[in-house]
């Protein structure tokens, strides 16, 4: 231990894993038990002037550590051999293949050490411990090798970049796992008949390929469609009102729209249930558990978000365009219709489609309003109606395996709908190449003019 110059040590119930830099520039990973006896270890060699780096290992393992071999001669700094430290400009932000190799090698080494230590010698506390230990070891290895190559400042940059990248990865991994899990569970039993049948005559516990979700798909489309019909004109007009007029009502409208966008969706459903379905104003038969009530609750959720996003999009339209239009004598209405809305078209479309994607998967407002149904009901204004989220929510909670499997099929279809809406939104919102309507070339004018004159 004494010959180790800089090192970090990870303590595990008395046993230690150390990563250390030795005076000759090599990096040593060692596992030491409570009595100070080494159990396993690996040495990443110094970055010598020539020769392939080779890892010297002890213990039952192989090492694939690649390090960037730098061709510049070693420079002696303050009596100490700074091995491989280049005199060239350091570019720690630049990742050469050798750097990537170094990271991968460190990760592999760390994985081996973790596997050996936690799986062979001790009982691992769990997957998260393995993962954290592996991550810390990898960072340590990268830090010390990069420090050897480029000095502490650049090494810190490397490690920070790695941490930031891992953070981004941490966001991607659950997303992929979620999509993968639902597809794996649901896709094998997805048959075409799912789109043509409802759950009529399907006994609980019958195979998941039997029956289908037609009633749920129809319900979802109808409810989302009605909500869209309500929200689209109101939301866009309100956003135009907020942006393009000088009314003194704009401030209260904006405040209340902002406030209502924080309304929890379950409260929207509860409100419709309490105010319309229980109270039945005017004793109208419309106010009962049906798809229309669900659509009302959904539009309560959708209206504030769509209004706000369209408002933001309209705000991005440059004032110069508006002023030019008004200066040319166009009315305000004409300006909005011909200038502002076309300019903001892709943004408005994206806002609306994303709002739609959100309510298609919204379950909470439906619990109190559409009530669910196992049979096809095409009339949204009468009788309870099923919808996809409802279908999934109800079925996956059932104890029977085939029933919950049927729920997963619904989840796959729901994901596919959301994904396609999402793709449409991305496609509509893509940065468009400016359509250049080139004026007639000047030469053209010239020839026509001369032609006329001649």
């Amino acid at each position: 231990m004494t010959n180790i110059d800089d090192r970090i040590a990870v303590d595990l119930r008395g046993e230690q894993i150390t990563i250390g830099r030795q005076p000759d520039g090599s990096v040593k990973v060692e596992v030491i038990n409570g009595r100070g006896e080494p159990l396993a270890g690996a040495v990443l060699p110094p970055l010598a002037d020539s020769g392939q780096p080779q890892a010297h290992t002890t213990g039952p393992q192989t090492i694939s550590g690649t390090t960037s071999a730098d061709a510049t001669p070693a420079v002696t700094v303050s009596g100490r051999r700074a091995v491989g430290r280049s005199t060239r400009k350091l570019r720690p932000g630049l990742w050469t293949p050798a750097d990537v190799g170094l990271v991968l090698g460190s990760a592999a080494t760390a994985a081996l050490v973790v596997a050996v230590v936690l799986r062979q010698f001790f009982e691992s506390p769990g997957w998260l411990a393995d993962l954290s230990l592996w991550f810390v070891l990898t960072l340590g290895l990268v830090y010390f090798t990069a420090r050897e190559q480029m000095g502490p400042l650049a090494a810190r940059d490397r490690v920070a970049t790695l941490v930031i990248g891992s953070g981004a990865l941490l966001l991607v991994v659950p997303l992929v796992s979620l999509l993968g899990y639902i597809f794996i569970k649901g896709l094998p039993s997805l048959r075409l008949s799912f789109f043509t049948h409802d759950l009529k005559g399907v006994a609980p516990g019958s195979p998941a390929t039997e029956g289908g979700g037609l009633h749920a798909i129809v319900g979802t489309l109808e409810q989302a469609g009605i909500a869209l019909l309500i929200v689209l004109p109101l939301g866009v007009l309100t956003a135009v009102f907020l942006n393009e007029t000088r009314s003194k009502f704009r401030r209260p409208v904006r405040i209340i729209v902002d406030a209502m966008s924080g309304l929890p969706s379950i409260v929207a459903g509860l409100f419709i249930y309490s105010a319309l379905i229980i109270n039945k104003p005017g004793n109208s038969p419309l106010f009962n558990f049906n798809g229309f009530m669900a659509a009302l609750a959904l539009s309560m959720v959708m209206l504030p978000t769509v209004t706000r996003t369209v408002d933001v999009v309209l705000r991005l339209v440059p004032d110069g365009l508006r002023e030019a239009s008004l200066a040319l004598g166009a009315s305000r209405a004409r300006t909005v219709w011909s200038i502002v809305l076309p300019t903001a078209r892709s943004g408005v479309t994206t806002a609306i489609v994303l709002g739609l994607a959100r309510i298609v998967g919204e379950t909470a407002p439906l619990l109190f309003t559409s009530f669910g149904n196992t049979l096809l009901n095409g009339n949204p204004f009468k009788d309870p109606q099923e919808s996809l989220p409802f279908f999934v929510y109800r079925l996956v909670k059932l104890p029977s395996a085939t029933d919950s499997e049927r729920g997963y099929i619904g989840a796959v279809v729901l994901i596919l709908i959301v994904l396609s809406l999402f793709t449409i939104a991305r496609w509509a919102g893509r940065p468009r190449k400016a359509k250049t309507r080139s004026p007639r070339p000047a030469t053209d004018l010239l020839t026509s003019a001369t032609g006329r004159s001649s």
Binding site: L128, A154, G167, Y181, V257, R308, A411, V418
Partner: protein, 338 residues
């Protein structure tokens, strides 16, 4: 003197008279089209205003019986008994509120570091394709329905979290919050619910952070690099300090989102309100999840649920309001729409 006279003279000799008096409005009346346009937009604005105000007022009116019945104990009682089998319902929102807070805090606590790192990755590290891909993935994360998160957490993640809970609880069990009673189960805990809800708060925190980091002044970033700072040095000394307001504001918006999360939580928690919080142990309830698990409520119970919903709404409102103030006050957040 003469200069002033000159300008006076010039101004009186201005070309054409534009207006009768300075400050008066142009006297040409708006065209019919414009009147219709103004009328239409104003009507829709007022309809939206009216509708939303009406909803707020109705919500309060419908919840009033519960407040009247329970009085102040509505806020100090932790039990919320829906009064099955003709028992008198007992209405208290404290236990639910506490659970909601715990889930939201755990969720935001997990989400903040991941979001900030992802935002930094998108603004300053990734280039070209990778950058576009990351932006798309964050948007996709926001588009996935919360039901599917709940499903994933319920069926998949619940198999992996309890071992972590058990180990952590074993190490930190001397603190009551982390402790688990003998024989207690580690499934359906606040921790699992918080982990899943954190996935749903990620996109909003990330996108606010990203907008704010994007607005860090390029001059100062370049100055830091020109003075020999590494990229990390630049991020640490320029981008992060500038983005602090955005990080705080975005986190509060994420908190607001986590407070209202319903379906995932209703799948992941048993919805038993209680005053003692053990984050790793089976048990817990949140307002929205509790409402979702009590469909078909009637009478006083319904009023109580509406009251609980109203309390939740108020909390979300306050959180979002504070967040937008923080974001708009922070220098970095100029022009960010919370």
């Amino acid at each position: 003197m003469s200069g002033a006279q000159m300008t006076n003279g010039l101004s009186t000799r201005a070309a054409t008279k534009l207006r009768e008096r300075p400050g008066s409005k142009p006297n040409d009346p708006p065209t019919v089209v414009d009147q219709v346009f103004t009328g239409f937009t104003r009507t829709s604005g007022i309809i939206v205003l009216g509708l939303l105000v009406l909803i707020a007022v109705f919500l309060f009116r419908e919840a009033l019986p519960a407040f009247r019945e329970a009085g102040w104990s509505f806020f100090t009682e932790y039990r919320f008994d829906i009064g099955a089998n003709n028992r008198k319902p007992e209405l208290g929102v404290l236990g639910l509120l506490l659970g909601t807070m715990v889930v939201a805090v755990i969720a935001t606590g997990i989400a903040i570091p991941v979001s900030v790192l992802t935002a930094l990755f998108i603004t300053d590290i990734a280039r070209g394709r990778a950058r576009q891909l990351m932006i798309g993935l964050v948007d996709l994360l926001a588009a996935i329905p919360s039901l599917l998160y709940g499903l994933w957490g319920f069926a998949f993640l619940s198999n992996y979290i309890p071992s972590v809970s058990e180990w952590t609880s074993g190490k930190l069990g001397f603190l009551a919050v982390f402790g688990v009673k003998d024989g207690g189960q580690y499934i359906q805990s606040y921790f699992i619910a918080g982990t899943v809800v954190s996935m749903m708060t990620l996109p909003i925190i990330t996108s606010i952070c990203r907008e704010v980091f994007d607005q860090a002044p390029p001059g100062e970033k370049e100055a830091a690099l020109a003075l020999g700072s590494t990229r990390w040095g630049m991020l640490w000394n320029v981008v992060l300090p500038f983005g602090r307001g955005g990080i705080i504001g975005g986190s509060m918006l994420g908190l607001g989102r986590a407070l209202g999360e319903t379906i995932a939580v209703s799948l992941l928690l048993p919805q038993i309100p209680s005053l003692s919080v053990h984050v790793f142990e089976y048990g817990g309830a949140t307002i929205s999840g509790f409402i979702a698990n009590n469909t078909g409520a009637q009478g006083l119970t319904l009023a109580g649920l509406l009251g609980a919903g109203l309390v939740l709404f108020c909390f979300t409102l306050i959180t979002n309001f504070l967040a937008s103030i923080i974001i708009s006050r922070s220098r970095s957040g100029a022009g960010v729409d919370a």
